[in-house]
Amino acid sequence: MWRYLRELWQGFWSIILSMQITLRYLFTRAVTVQYPEEKRQLPVRALTRHVLTVDLDSKELKCTACDMCARICPANCIHLEGEGKGKARRPKWFVIDHNLCMYCNLCVEVCPFDAISMYTGMYELGGFSRTNLVYDMETMHADGFYPTIMTPRSPAGAGVKAPPPAGAGKQTRKA
């Protein structure tokens, strides 16, 4: 009899406690991000769409069409052809097929001139056909500064007065 009543009370009390917890959750902030209206802040070094970086003074592509990226690419998604000799060598056309790209960053790491970057924050890649996801040189031509693999995580004196201590993720991206 007493055991029956005690178990009854325990069951009732456990329901009350669990309802307390759900009530607390009812008033916590929703974690949902209302995507098209609000967007999440990406980490600075999130791997997203490629960009061909430019020399900020001459506004010219840094790429010398050395073909290293195309050769290291495991998905074989980079195709390019250069023209010109020696220091004047520049890509004639440069195509990255994002249907194939697996965002491994190898092309960026292998590039000897820091001429390609994936730290662009352009992750909204969509298209109505597969050819929409094949990007050519004009599309990937950088229009300004993009952080590359050589950009320090917390640049001292790059527009920031006091560099945030260990604030790798705090760095604002100029785009």
Binding site: F12, I15, S18, I21, T22, Y25, L26, A30, Q34
Partner: protein, 343 residues
């Protein structure tokens, strides 16, 4: 004959037709039609609101937003959009289904849900018909829904539907017993089965204070009666797909849905009437007090739904026969003794 708020108006309406020499049945039918239309409209609006509200509460308990798109402010028009979608959907009747029973089943369920609204006192005089056996009538009518559910399960020619209907019948029959017995306590205190008289009897003290055990057993049974979590094994998705309404689509499914939410409102309204002092409350108008209390109970029901997990069939029967029934009987016995001793 219905007496809404102003019985005089209805009486004058009848007299008007009598003066024109029209048979007495015509004005009465007109009044009935108007009252039923008002109730159906009320049920639809409440059900739509409850569906939206439930989705919001479930979402926020899980730290989500729930519907946010349709209609602008927090997706308030979501239920309307869903209703329109269900109206436009194809009405499928399975090939080897028992057609007349299949078509009739949602109507029976909805009629049972609708009929209970006759005795709900929304305010002083704001009641369709103040039956002197009001509570008994509600109990009798609410058992009728099981018939519709069994019809739906049987006629669908689907093993999941049949199993769901069987479970639902077992559950409804088991929980009906403690439900009725827990309602007898307050009825003893009020000395009447009429819903209006019960509210009048709570002028000084709500019956939840005198009968907390009866309230808890009634509320648990009410949750089970309306087939809601944690007692929703008749439509346990993980085992039975959707239970008795697997084969229903479009508007027929919508009617089942509507009946479920109408039933929820009914059981909560009865709980408000019997235990929470009905329309009584300071400052605000009576009908608002009634709706506030009822919606609070509905909120508790939803809250409970998103707190507890579904019970097994044997656990369900255990709770009904080994816990709720003894408690309800104990409450009834003690109440009876005290009422006898003090009168």
């Amino acid at each position: 004959m219905p007496h809404i708020q102003s019985g005089d108006l209805v009486a004058r309406f009848y007299a008007l037709f009598e003066g024109w020499g029209i048979p007495w049945i015509v004005p009465r039918l007109i009044v009935m039609l108007v009252v039923v239309s008002i109730i159906i409209l009320f049920i639809s609006v409440v059900a739509m609101f409850l569906i939206w509200w439930e989705r919001k509460i479930s979402a926020h308990i899980q730290a989500r937003f729930g519907p946010m798109r349709v209609g602008g402010w927090h997706g308030w028009a979501q239920s309307i959009a869903d209703g329109v979608k269900l109206l436009l959907k194809e009405d499928i009747i399975p090939t080897r289904a028992d057609r007349p029973v299949f078509i009739l089943a949602p109507m029976v369920v909805f009629a049972a849900a609708l009929a209970a609204y006759v005795v709900i006192p929304f305010g002083p005089g704001l009641i369709v018909e103040d039956l002197n056996i009001g509570i008994l009538y509600v109990i009798a009518i609410s058992s009728l829904a099981v018939v519709g559910i069994i019809m739906a399960g049987w006629s669908s020619n689907n093993k999941y539907a049949a199993l769901g209907a069987l479970r639902s019948a077992a559950q409804a029959v088991s929980y009906e017993v403690p439900l009725v017995i827990s309602l007898i306590g307050p009825v003893l205190l009020a000395g009447s089965l009429s819903t209006t008289k019960i509210v009048e009897a709570q002028r000084y003290l709500w019956f939840i204070v005198l009968q907390p055990l009866a309230f808890l057993t009634y509320f648990t049974c009410a949750v089970a009666e309306t087939n809601r979590l944690p007692f929703d094994i008749p439509e346990a998705e993980s085992e039975l797909v959707a239970g008795f309404h697997v084969e229903y689509s479009g508007m027929r499914f919508a009617i089942f849905f509507l009946a479920e939410y109408a039933n929820m409102f009914t059981v909560c309204a009865i709980a408000t009437t019997v235990f929470l002092g009905g329309w009584r409350g300071p400052l605000l108008p009576p009908w608002l007090w009634f709706l506030l209390k009822t919606f609070f109970l509905l909120f508790v029901m939803m809250w409970l739904r998103w707190t507890l997990a579904r019970v097994r069939v044997d656990q369900l029967m255990d709770v009904a026969w080994k816990v709720l029934l003894p408690l309800a009987f104990a409450n009834l016995g003690i109440t009876g003794l005290l009422v006898w001793a003090f009168s």
